[in-house]
């Protein structure tokens, strides 16, 4: 099938502002959007820049705004989009070139929530036991691949880049509710600031955008409640 692909491009060395480049090409309807932009890059315009790595929805490199929704280019098929495909870089982060954005502010927020296991107790001779039920509590938030689809779909993040963002809160959730972890208080303190948890206005954009189907807004509300119970 023939598709018309419009890509918002920007080369900081040549362009003053981003512009839309149009490409018409023949693709299969079972192709993914990543295959389409690969075809553009390899056969039509080698200067097109974007990130991709595993191409199987695990590495989280190729998040982009496709037909108005943040998604992974490797997880969406052409037949689900139709003949017109508009692709933009994800919003709210500085564009470096074409579809590549500066992810550092995103990772700064991620680092701020101490996204690693904290337990000062001496290691037990066997395992740090955790029941299946305890594991289930934070199961969804372990699935995050840090693609930034959620954070860059958040209207609060667009207008206020200081907001820590849903991805960081989900990754804090993953450890706050881990029965073996001891860093929950520290993480909750970090999130309990006006640019932390409390900027969330429950717009649900993050939940809709997540390619891993994490119920992000629910996770954020759970962290808010946890903070409430611990302070009470």
């Amino acid at each position: 099938m023939k598709v018309n692909v419009k890509i918002k491009r920007f080369n900081p060395e040549a362009d003053k502002r981003p512009y839309w480049a149009e490409y018409s090409l023949e693709v299969r309807e079972t192709d993914r959007v990543l295959d389409v932009i690969n075809q553009i890059k390899w056969e039509m315009d080698g200067s097109l820049s974007y990130r991709r790595s595993c191409a199987h929805g695990i590495c989280g490199s190729d998040a982009m705004l496709i037909n108005g929704v943040n998604r992974l280019a490797c997880k969406i098929l052409v037949r689900d989009l139709g003949e017109v495909i508009n692709i933009e870089p994800i919003r709210g982060l500085p564009v470096l070139k074409d579809l590549i954005v500066d992810m550092e502010p995103f990772f700064d927020s991620y680092k701020a929530v101490l996204p690693f296991f904290i337990n000062e107790d001496p290691e037990p001779p066997t395992e740090r036991y955790q029941s299946a039920e305890d594991r289930e509590i934070f199961d969804a938030s372990t699935k995050c691949i840090l693609c930034a689809c959620c954070t860059t779909s958040c209207p609060v993040f667009w207008t206020n880049g200081r907001y820590i963002g849903p991805a960081a809160i989900v990754n804090a959730h993953r450890f706050i509710f881990d029965s073996r972890d001891q860093g929950a208080d520290e993480r909750l303190q970090i999130l309990n600031q006006s640019n932390g948890l409390w900027r969330c206005r429950t717009a649900y954009n993050c939940t809709e955008a997540c390619p891993r189907d994490i119920p992000i807004t629910k996770a954020i509300e759970e962290v808010k409640r946890e903070l409430l119970w611990r302070r009470a």
Binding site: P105, D108, S109, K111, A112, L114, V156, T159, N160, G161, R162, I164, E186, Q189, I190, N192, Q193, S194, N195, G196, L197, W198, R199, R201, K224, L227, L228, R231
Partner: protein, 143 residues
């Protein structure tokens, strides 16, 4: 001053010290729930129990001279104004990037809220509806 996003625990702790957002978050939930009952009660009393076209000064004056109505309407006024004002404050915090403009927007917002609230409370508690009611009744008909 705009505070940069904290990157370390120490920076986060510094900005965490003076935070009332948790309290506001709880207030929004409690007042939101209370407002549902208060507003529906208000609609029931003034739109269903009595036909709106029959609401005149005498009805309002009689109503406002009752103590429980003063208390009920004070809660309605207080919750509605604070709930609405805090919602608008969220918008100001989100959309005004310039700290100075944000400060002035919040100052104007809180001033308007305070004026409306004070006027409302004065009307409810300091205004003598009985006296005004008598005065209006004493007027010749047609005025």
């Amino acid at each position: 001053m705009a505070v940069a996003r904290p990157k370390t625990l120490r920076q986060a702790k510094a900005s965490y010290a003076t935070n009332s957002e948790l309290a506001w978050w709880i207030f929004m939930r409690v007042s939101g729930l209370a407002l549902i009952f208060l507003i529906f009660g208000h609609i029931f009393m003034n739109n269903i129990q009595i036909n709106v076209s029959n609401v005149d000064y005498a009805y309002v004056a009689t109503r406002f001279s009752k103590g429980w109505v003063k208390v009920y309407d004070s809660f309605l006024l207080g919750f509605a104004m604070l709930h609405g004002a805090n919602g608008l404050r969220y918008n100001v915090e989100d959309y005004f990037k310039n700290p100075q403009r944000r400060f002035w927007a919040k100052l104007i917002l809180f001033s308007v809220v305070a004026i409306v609230f004070v006027l409302g409370v004065m009307t409810l508690w300091a205004f003598s509806f009985e006296e005004m009611g008598d005065a209006i009744d004493a007027l010749p008909h047609g005025n």
